[in-house]
Amino acid sequence: MSETETDHTDAPVVLALRDITKRFGPLVANDAINLELRRGEILALLGENGAGKTTLMNILFGHYVADEGEVLVEGEVLAEGGDGALVPLEPGSPHAALDAGIGMVHQHFTLAENLTGLENIVLGTGSRLSPRLSTGAARRNVAKLMTRSGLTVDLDVQVTRLTVGEKQRVEILKALYRDARILVMDEPTAVLTPQEAEGLFETVRWLATSGLAVIFIAHKLAEVLAVSDRIAVLRGGKKVGEMARADADRRKIAELMVGRDVPQSRRTPRKPGVPLLELNKVGVAGADARQSLHEVSLTVREGEIVGIAGVSGNGQAALAGVVAGLTVPSTGEMILYGEKVTRFDPRRFSRSGIARIPEDRHHDGVVGAMTVAENVAIEEVRDPAYQRAGFVRSKAIRARAETAIRDYDVRCPGPDAPARLLSGGNIQKLILARVLDRNPRVILANQPTRGLDVGAQTEVHRRLLEARERGAGVLLISEDLDELMIVSDRIAVIHDGRLSEELPTETLDRGTLGLMMAGHRDEEDAA
C-alpha cells in the first residue's frame, strides 16, 4: 500500500473521497471508500463488474447521493500556480460536479447522434436564451483544444457517421471544453480496438502531463499497467488495495480483484474429428465494407476451436450472420455436417445444433424485461419438456432455470428476476447456460469475453474448452489476441472482408497476427 514511489506525491490533491458509503437496500455497494487524486495523476480504479466502481463514480458525479461520507474537490485556485483548498462538493448535483471541473466519459456515450461533433461539444455551454448555437468562437476554441490535446476529429460530421473511437474523442473534447480538471473515464477501452486503445492511452498520458487528473476505470490488467500511475482495487464495495504502478504485478492485482487465485485456462491436446462447418468461397455483398465478405473459406472440425482474429468492423458481423443463418451469402456455399445448406434460416440452424453467443449480449442476447427463467428457456420452449399442446409448463422452466443458475453460477436474485438486473458477466453466463446445455455441435462465439472481468472471462474460456473436449466445433471471433492464443487450435485473420488461411496457433505469434490484422497478408509480403 505504498504511495511513496509515485511522481505525483508532491502535487496538490484535487479530489478526495472520504468514507463514501452507499447502500441499495441490503446491499452495500460502496463501503467506507477513501480515495485521493492528485493533479496530473492517472489513477486506475480496478475491480470486477459489480465491485462498486460505477456506483462510486456516480456519487462523484452527483447521480447518486452517498449515504455517508463526502466528496471534496479543490476549490478556486486563487493565485497563478497556487493550490486551492479542498471544499465539499454539493452532493446529488451533476451541475455542481461540472462546475467543479469534473468531466466524465461514459462507457455508453452521451452524444446526440444527429448533431455534428462540434454541436455536441458546444451543446449546453452557451446562454440558454440564445436562439442558436454560436459556433464561431467555439470552433476556434475546440480547434485549439484539438491541437493541444492531440485529439483530432472532423467537427462537421454527424456523430452517427463517426467511428466508435472518434465518438470517444468527441466525448473527451466535450469534457475538456468544459474546463475539466478531473476526467473520469468509465471503461473507455471496452468499445475500442486494440489500436484505438493504444492511441487513447497516449492521449490520456499526454493530458495528464499537462495537469489533468484522470480516473481510469478498467478491469483489464494489461491496460491498467500500461497507462496508470497508481492503482486502486475495489472488491465487493470495499477498497481492498492501493499501490503505485511500480509495485504492482498482474498476479497480485488479479488476486486482489477476484479475491482468490485465478486459474489459467489451458488447452489439452486433442485430435480434431470430421469437419462440421465448412465455408467455401463465401461472399456477402453488404451495404458497406463492414458487412461484406469476399471469398471466405473456412473449416471447423469436431473438437477444435478456430479463432478469427481481426479488428472489429472487418467483416466479422457478416461472417457471424452467415454462420447463424441470419445473412444469406451472395456467392459460395456453406456445408454443414457434410451437407450443403440450401436455406439460411436461424431457426433451422439453431435446431440443427448451432449455438450462438451473440456479440452484443445486452441487445441480442437477452430480453431485459423478461425473467431470467424465460430467458434461459426461450430457445427450448418448443421442446415437449417445457410445453404440452401449447401450454407452457412454467414449473419445468423454473426448474431448468434453477439448474442453470446453479451450474453456471449466474448471480441473480432468482429465476423470476428480470434479466436487466444482471451484470454483463452474469448475462453472458445466462447465455452460456442457454446455448451450451443443449450440447450443440457447432458454437459460434462472437466476442464472448468483451467487457467481461477476469473471473467471467476465465469461466467463458473454460466452458468453450469443455465443449471442445466434448467434441463440439467452436468458431471464436475475437479481438483479444491473448484469448485467441490461449484457447484456439487454429487462427485465421479477417481483414477487409477477406479471411486468411487458418494456421495452427503454435506457429503464430502476436507480432505476425498483429501485422495480418492490420492488413499485411502473406502473399503481399512474399511478393
Binding site: L27, Y64, H106, Q107, R347, E374, V381, F391, S423
Partner: protein, 368 residues
C-alpha cells in the same frame, strides 16, 4: 449473493436529474405490494382531482358517490347498464392489448370494428344459411371482417416497413366510407334513413335475463379467457413478449417472428371485429353510421391502464363502463357537458401515467 446484480450500471438513458434539493434515483427492484400501493395512491389523487372538478361544476360529493357508485354498481339496473356498456369495451381492450403486446401500434380498432359489424350484417341482411346457424355465421363474419382489415397494414409493415400507426389510422376513414357507401346504398333501410333494416329476431343475441344485458357479455368474457390463456399461459404468449421486446434477438435465436406478429395482429383485428358484431347483434340490431364511435380511444386507454394484461383489461373495461354509465346520468341530471366524462377519463389516465415516475425512481428529498 446479490453483489453483482444490484449494482447494474445506470446507463445515461436512465440518468437521474438533480432538481435542487430533489434527486431522482433509479430503483433497482420493487416488491409487488409497493408497486400496487403507489398505483393506488396515484389513482386516489386522480380520483380526488376528479371529485374536485365535479364538485366545482355543482355536483356535491354525495351526488358523485350516488351516481358513480351507488346507482351504477350497487343497483340492478345500473349494473346491467354497465355490463352492456363494457361488453364491446372488453373486446376492443383485448384487441389493443393483443397488438400492443408485439409492439404493433394498432390505431385501427374502429375501422376493424366497423368491418366486423359489416361482416356480421352481411350474413344477416342477405339471410345466408339456415336461421339456426345465422348468429354463428354472423359471429364468424365479425371476426373475419375485423381480421381482414388488419391484413393491409400488416403486409405493408412486414414487407415494406410502413409505419402501422399511419396505415391503421387512415384505414379507419376508409372503413367509415365503406360503411356509408353501404348505408346510403345497397343496405339502406326502406325508411330512407342512413341505416340498415333491423335484424330479424334470429339474428339478435338473446338477452340473458338481467336488464338489457345480452349474451354478448359471455362472448366478451370468453374472449378474455382465450386471450388470457394465449398471452399468459401459452407458448405463443411467451414468444409474443420476446418478439415485442426484442425482435432482432428473437429472430436470431430462431423464433418465428413474422408468424407471431402476423398472428397477434390478425387476432387483434378479429377481436375488434367481434366488438362490432356484439354492438350490432346485441344492442343496436342494425348498422348505423355511428355504432363505432369512440371505441378506438377507449380500447387504447383500457390496454394502457391494464398494461396489456388480458384479465386486467376485463376489469378496467368494467370500471370504465361504470364511468361512462355514471357520466351519462351526471350529464342528464346535472346538465353537464359530455366532455366531463372524457375529462374524468383523462385525469385517471394521467394519474396512472404519473405513477410510473414513482415506480421507476426513488425520490430523495434533502434539506439544505
Amino acid at each position: 449473493m446479490t453483489t453483482e446484480t444490484v449494482s447494474s450500471n445506470p446507463t445515461p438513458a436512465e440518468a437521474r436529474r438533480g432538481l435542487g434539493r430533489v434527486t431522482l434515483e433509479v430503483r433497482q427492484r420493487m416488491p409487488a405490494w409497493k408497486h400496487g400501493l403507489i398505483l393506488a395512491l396515484s389513482l386516489s389523487c386522480g380520483l380526488a382531482i376528479g371529485v374536485a372538478v365535479l364538485w366545482a361544476s355543482g355536483v356535491a360529493p354525495k351526488g358523485i358517490y350516488e351516481e358513480f357508485v351507488l346507482y351504477t354498481f350497487f343497483n340492478a339496473k345500473g349494473l346491467a347498464n354497465v355490463l352492456v356498456e363494457c361488453t364491446p369495451l372488453i373486446l376492443v381492450g383485448l384487441s389493443a392489448a393483443m397488438a400492443f403486446r408485439v409492439q404493433f401500434w394498432n390505431i385501427g380498432l374502429e375501422g376493424q370494428l366497423i368491418l366486423g359489424g359489416m361482416g356480421a350484417a352481411f350474413f344477416a341482411l342477405n339471410d345466408i344459411g339456415p336461421p339456426e346457424t345465422r348468429l354463428a355465421l354472423m359471429l364468424i363474419g365479425g371476426l373475419a371482417g375485423g381480421a381482414l382489415w388488419t391484413v393491409i397494414p400488416l403486409l405493408l409493415k412486414l414487407k415494406l416497413n410502413v409505419n402501422e400507426i399511419i396505415s391503421t389510422l387512415l384505414l379507419n376513414y376508409v372503413a367509415f366510407q365503406l360503411l356509408q357507401d353501404r348505408l346510403y346504398g345497397a343496405w339502406q333501410d326502406p325508411d330512407r334513413f342512413p341505416h340498415s333494416p333491423q335484424l330479424e329476431s334470429v339474428e339478435r343475441l338473446p338477452r340473458i335475463g338481467f336488464g338489457d344485458v345480452d349474451s354478448g357479455i359471455w362472448v366478451a368474457l370468453a374472449a378474455g379467457i382465450v386471450v388470457w390463456w394465449l398471452i399468459q399461459r401459452a407458448r405463443i404468449g411467451l414468444f409474443m413478449t420476446f418478439v415485442g421486446s426484442n425482435a432482432r434477438m428473437s429472430k436470431a435465436i430462431g423464433l418465428p417472428v413474422t408468424a407471431v406478429v402476423a398472428g397477434s395482429v390478425l387476432l387483434s383485428g378479429a377481436l375488434s371485429g367481434l366488438a362490432g358484431f356484439v354492438v350490432v347483434a346485441g344492442q343496436e340490431y342494425r348498422l348505423t353510421t355511428t355504432f363505432s364511435g369512440g371505441y378506438l380511444f377507449s380500447g387504447i386507454v383500457i390496454a394502457f391502464l391494464a398494461r396489456n394484461n388480458p384479465l386486467a383489461a376485463v376489469v378496467v373495461a368494467f370500471l370504465l363502463g361504470g364511468l361512462y354509465v355514471g357520466g351519462q346520468s351526471i350529464q342528464i341530471f346535472y346538465n353537464l357537458p359530455a366532455g366531463v366524462i372524457d375529462l374524468l377519463q383523462a385525469i385517471i389516465v394521467m394519474s396512472v401515467t404519473a405513477s410510473e415516475l414513482f415506480v421507476r425512481y426513488r425520490i430523495i428529498w434533502r434539506r439544505a
